[in-house]
Symmetry: C2
Subunit: 795 residues, 2 copies
């Protein structure tokens, strides 16, 4: 198969135009089409941007355009080297999308000037392929996630081709290095096709790349080892005519697209029985291809020196200015744009139409495609609670039953992701009555709940889980990521980047809302007593609280019914990150469903049955809790107080929606001060038992009137392999210590109840000793259940 | 080569003994040698531990023992599946190390009983290969870092063999998937050898593993693509006699060790010219090998069901108790231990002697080997500062000159790690006059500062950088990790795990102190104006502050001399994580070296030349800053105040050592309250300009008297591609806003200086508009330098 000269002309014209427009964005304030000699004042005073990766991206975009036109492909373009932002903007402008989305940027010389000026300019657009960039679901500032995003986009999009450009710098990152294994999970019939294009331009910021400096045969083995059929195209070196490279690449792309079509056809008609060896492409071209080869005596083209702005002094030295002008004129803009600055028909002959344009593909603006989930009524899954604390259940297992039906009702738009912990987190067994884990590597007799297609995606890589889910959500679907609380820190930085994406997207009207990213953090800090210190870390909440209040939500439901109510809310929401921490161990159930719904709607509230308040009088002390284990300890403490200091008016408060603690000015969920004061009082001691590190509660409630009287207990980095109750004692969060805190902080009690305080201190000592002796919590601790208040004091 | 029967006997005896002792740890409280029938009370009430991976680890330990004895190898064993903790403890007990280190655990029946009892028991030892475990530098709770640790240990240990067992679960993680490329960096002559052993037992917690479910040929291609020569040994399936597997593996190990010896020899004598294809081993055995094949009708051996505790009800049901007893007796303990419970000579015939024992290798207790760095006097590298702010310099470049000499003075014990940013962070060019970047992939003409051996390690994987450095430090050497501030979040979880390791090690007397893990975070939030929002995130400090105060330190030197003084301190310290944030852009220099040393010694202090205090009188307001950019803004604000409200007594405070803000009870660096009050006052308004998210300052200073008057400005998640000064304005951290804050907070000023406040608000508006117009900061902002105080107000 050979590509004809006209097509080569068109490929080259697009490529030159995109390159020209990219350079213009990096350098020019004015004189966009070089209709007059370039003068210093035409050059931006601060030159910010990345040229090195850009010509490669533009090259691929042009060639994919041809493939799309010839085969009517539905194609999403993912730019791993997202810092090649000017290229993506240039391509979107060339195919017309940019001006449709931003009417301020016309398709003429003025439009080009404005396009150039706004780039990396205060008040303009960022330098990377950000949410501002049409067609992008991937920023690529923090490298490593392009291929995971690509697979996420492909799941349940059977007709979609996801062309994913992976820079050879990005390829060195861990998340990318494992993302290749996505092909063991994607289903050839039900899911779309990911076409990885590894772009070897050979250099990073200041170094060569590893994959560009191993022998070709080793690189091909690596790609075959990853399960692909690799196609290597190399060109553009030593001044090779780009037209030859166009021809070579076009031929290869045709072969690759034929291979893909054949595999898809076999998958559709059921003749595909083995995991296919999907093709992938390695494109080796010079970094900064077509820029000046040598500047100031240094090699620039084909070197790391072309990474950012090859000509740093274009405004300041006549020599650099001349080089810049020559460089830009080398693309022959006069052949690419008409007198008004519109691209000539030959320049954009390859542009697909309408939504076939990669920059206009609605998949890249997932909110356009998003449909609401069909959610079964969570109230139907309620745990009966006739009396608070009378029954014990695994809360996440109850949630699992509801989620199983969410899956049944939404067989194509909802998935659950996790690093091999969905069963451990107790979402099974209910989950696997509704679906299976999707697995397209080898299946063996005896495998349980594994199938070629299924709604649960498990791989032992939190990076993959997070990246897949992000890609799935950004393309208009729904899902959740369940993982161990401590190890969600593995994706701190991915969470950060997604939260920033959401925050930026809020200000871009054409980006439609996408489903929230929902976490389910179980196996949490208080119940990792079997795995020990390395598994005990509730700090993700602190990372989350640093992000824009507009996009983050944190929930700590304390039993099954509050968990159901919370998760129903989360699955309906858009444009947030919802973090839900919930227990998976058998634990007492507190609220019947009507109360649970009311409590979750408020986000925080008094548990009237737990306290000893007298109507019409402020309580003497407020015991507050957030999280299932802290709430249990607070209720036990209240129970001790009722028994032992019956005259004390104790109010018990539980917080499910942590952001309610902030003021209304700080967070959209912030509770008005008057309401907050009515619950927490303005001047009574508040003993707050918190799931996480205690300072987060201080931070959130910092502006509240009652803050000076707030005393928080939480995880203070004391952990080991021990028992659950020993864990709370280690961190002074236990019922005994909470009562001691009350005695210490309520005026007068220290004097009158010193003996009780000592008794409690002794009980702690006894409990710890009993644990070290027997290897388990003392029976009088384990068997204690609300409301048998006396038990915890009487071993 | 064939292994003789006696050796097979010895391998099998060791293996059976280690397996027996592993199971005993998981299950037994007493009757350790089954000298009487097993009764329920001999079984632990809570069964916590991981069997599945353990027999494979024990198998490898036995075989490596043989290799060590026969070849006198210096070998470190790294256990990727660190949850196989009982195995590592068992092996350490068998070779005698355990009893040497823990005299409470003897080498007899009582010792075995205590060994069993303490495991995963309150007050005992954790269930994983934790710092408590002799021979371990790797916990493996959070999977993914074993191979990076292995390379870190191997660097500059030319005679060391690092046998690194990688679980097939761990192999799915991103960090592990890229860690294979460590072989492109290690130098065959100067560094030790890493022998990766991929242990395919086929299953994770609840799923098969990816690498166990691809064809052998694909797996071998993957390993060859990673640059290795793979050797696959499979065995133990369908009841195959373990002796056959011993023979097969022993033969393969001999070949592998021969290969390694040949490559090392060639490297030593200079005949090795190409990067070698180091061997690696794939060992495929059943998960839980040798446990009961079927329990309760379910396949257990060779299944994910053997991952943790195969017999959950051994104490509660007679059937499970019997199965447990049969299982344990299947190892024939009577043939392994003598009447007193001592291991028979035939059981431990393979144990190497002394420090050749893998559990006793001093490399795994790096503090034993650590020597102090030879540090050139940092004062000799001082920047002359005749007047505060008169000169502008890149602070990290100055540090780079000192670090270059640190490298020259310590050519074998100090390395710098970074993800391709050492030059970007300005440690070059000085650095590359002293050394090169180590690179053992292909070298090409024109490569700069790349060499087969060098002290700088650059790979575009923060995980690798962190893991290599951890391995390097844990084996007794020194180093630092320089990276972009925002992207250090990529290793949040690795930092967490290392901090937990350090915290746990503090309580283990035989673990000797290791060098601190030093970060240099540059390209920080305030100067990522060119890369934009995705690169702007100072939240790592919040993650760090959550860890034990005993092990974390945070420094924000605000010029070159304070940076030099700080880093000298960091490189001398042990057992900490030191986080240093420093600017790389040209910035004013404030303190001459004597003042810098004094200031850094105090950690925080008044800058007397910057304020307008009158002796003997409390100031009206305190302007405090931490970080280079905030300090510049505070100094500019003080300058405006001096000019415009000369009657106001302003104190300017700078904080370098952030933990000084905490009380002495909270952190070892905490400043006594009286000292703190003397600096910050107890009742005057404090306007604090902070480098990071503002709440961290509140959190640290929460218990201080003056806290109620503290008002903090910092990064509030507003960012984009813009100018440096626009960045501070976006976050209300700019000089103008700080003066407005003073006017708002000092009693009386609002009434008297309303016009000035308006003027400042207007100046902000003008500055922002000028930036948006010109693309750069207004000249009157850019050119402002202390002490030209009037300038910033007069555009």
């Amino acid at each position: 198969m050979t590509t004809d000269d006209t097509t080569i002309d068109q490929l080259d014209a697009w490529w030159r135009a995109a390159n020209y427009l990219s350079i213009g964005q990096i350098y020019l304030l004015d004189n966009p089409l070089l209709r007059e000699p370039l003068a210093p004042e035409h050059v931006k005073p601060r030159l910010l941007g990345h040229w090195g990766t850009t010509p490669g991206l533009n090259f691929l975009y042009a060639h994919l355009n041809r493939g799309i036109r010839e085969r009517d492909l539905d194609t999403l373009f993912i730019t791993g080297p997202g810092h090649g932002g000017p290229g993506m903007v240039a391509n979107a402008w060339l195919d017309g999308t940019y001006s449709e989305v931003y009417s301020r940027i016309g398709r003429d010389a003025d439009g080009i000037r404005d396009l150039f000026r706004q780039f990396s300019f205060p008040g303009g657009i960022p330098s990377h392929a950000s949410p501002d960039t049409p067609g992008s679901i991937h920023e690529g500032g923090e490298l490593g996630y392009s291929l995971s995003h690509a697979y996420g986009a492909a799941f349940d999009n059977p007709e979609l081709l996801v062309a994913c450009v992976i820079g050879d710098g990005e390829a060195e990152t861990g998340p990318l290095a494992t993302a290749w294994h996505g092909n063991k999970f994607a289903n050839p019939a039900q899911d779309g096709v990911v076409l990885p294009i590894l772009h070897l331009n050979g250099y990073k910021i200041a170094n060569p790349t590893v994959l560009a400096r191993i022998p070709d045969e080793e690189l091909l083995e690596l790609m075959r080892g990853y399960g692909h059929e690799p196609f290597l195209v190399s060109g553009g070196f030593d001044g090779e005519d780009p037209r030859l490279v166009h021809a070579r690449f076009a031929d290869t792309l045709d072969v690759v697209l034929d291979r893909i079509a054949a595999i898809k056809e076999a998958a559709r008609n059921g003749t595909l029985t083995e995991r296919p060896r999907w093709p992938m492409i390695i494109l080796r071209t010079p970094k900064g291809w077509t820029c000046p080869e040598v500047i100031d005596g240094h090699q620039v083209e084909g070197s790391w020196r072309s990474h950012q702005v090859p000509l740093a002094n274009a405004r300041d030295t006549a020599e650099h200015l001349r080089i810049l002008e020559d460089w830009m004129r080398s693309y022959r803009p006069e052949e690419l744009f008409d007198a008004e600055g519109r691209p000539l028909p030959t320049t954009v002959a390859l542009a697909p139409e309408g939504e076939r344009r990669m920059s206009a593909n609605p998949v890249a603006n997932g909110g356009l495609l998003r449909t609401e989930l069909e959610l079964p009524d969570f109230r139907d899954y309620a745990v009966p609670v006739t009396e608070p604390g009378a029954t014990a259940l695994e809360s996440t297992a109850v949630l699992g039953r509801w989620l199983a039906d969410v899956i049944r009702e939404n067989p194509e738009t909802f998935r659950i992701f996790g690093p091999d912990e969905t069963a451990s987190n107790r979402l099974a067994p209910a989950m696997y009555e509704a679906t299976d884990k999707q697995w397209n590597a080898e299946l063996r007799p005896g495998d349980e709940h594994l199938a070629r297609a299924g709604r649960v995606m498990e791989v032992l890589s939190e990076h993959q889980c997070q990246g897949w889910l992000e890609g799935y959500l950004l393309t208009g679907r729904h899902g959740l990521f369940n993982t161990y609380e401590a190890f969600v820190h593995i994706v701190d930085s991915m969470f950060n980047q997604h939260a920033k994406w959401l925050e930026a997207s809020r200000h871009i009207p054409w980006r439609r809302p996408i489903s929230s990213l929902n976490y389910l953090l179980s196996s949490h800090v208080w119940r990792q007593d079997h795995n020990g210190f390395s598994h005990q870390d509730p700090g993700f909440l602190d990372v989350v609280a640093n992000k824009s209040a507009e996009v983050v939500r944190v929930y700590l439901p304390f039993d099954a019914n509050t968990l159901l109510s919370t998760y129903d809310h989360c699955l309906r929401s858009v444009d947030y990150v919802n973090v839900v921490v919930a227990g998976k161990q058998p634990a007492p159930q507190w609220l019947a469903m009507p109360e649970a719904v009311e409590h979750c709607t408020r986000g925080l509230g008094i548990l009237p049955w737990a306290g000893t308040e007298v109507d019409g009088r402020e309580p003497d002390v407020v015991l507050a809790a957030a999280g299932d284990v802290p709430t249990l300890e607070v209720l036990a403490a209240a129970s001790i107080l009722r028994e032992r200091i019956p005259e004390l008016a104790v109010r018990v408060v539980n917080v499910v929606d942590l952001m309610r603690l902030q003021t209304a000015g700080e967070h959209p969920h912030g509770m008005p001060d008057a309401d907050f004061d009515a619950i927490f009082t303005t001047d009574r001691p508040i003993i707050f038992a918190f799931h996480g590190y205690p300072w987060l509660i201080h931070r959130l409630s910092y502006r509240r009137h009652g803050h000076d009287g707030l005393h928080v207990r939480g995880f203070v980095e004391r952990g080991t392999t021990t028992t659950p109750f020993d864990m709370v004692m280690l961190n002074d969060l236990d019922r005994f210590h909470l009562v001691m805190d009350v005695i210490d902080r309520v005026p007068g009690l220290a004097a009158t109840h010193g003996a009780l305080r000592q008794e409690l201190a002794d009980a702690r000592t006894r409990a710890r000793a009993a644990t070290r002796e027997s290897g388990q919590d003392a029976e009088w601790v384990r068997e204690w259940q609300w409301p048998e208040s006396a038990l915890p004091m009487k071993p």
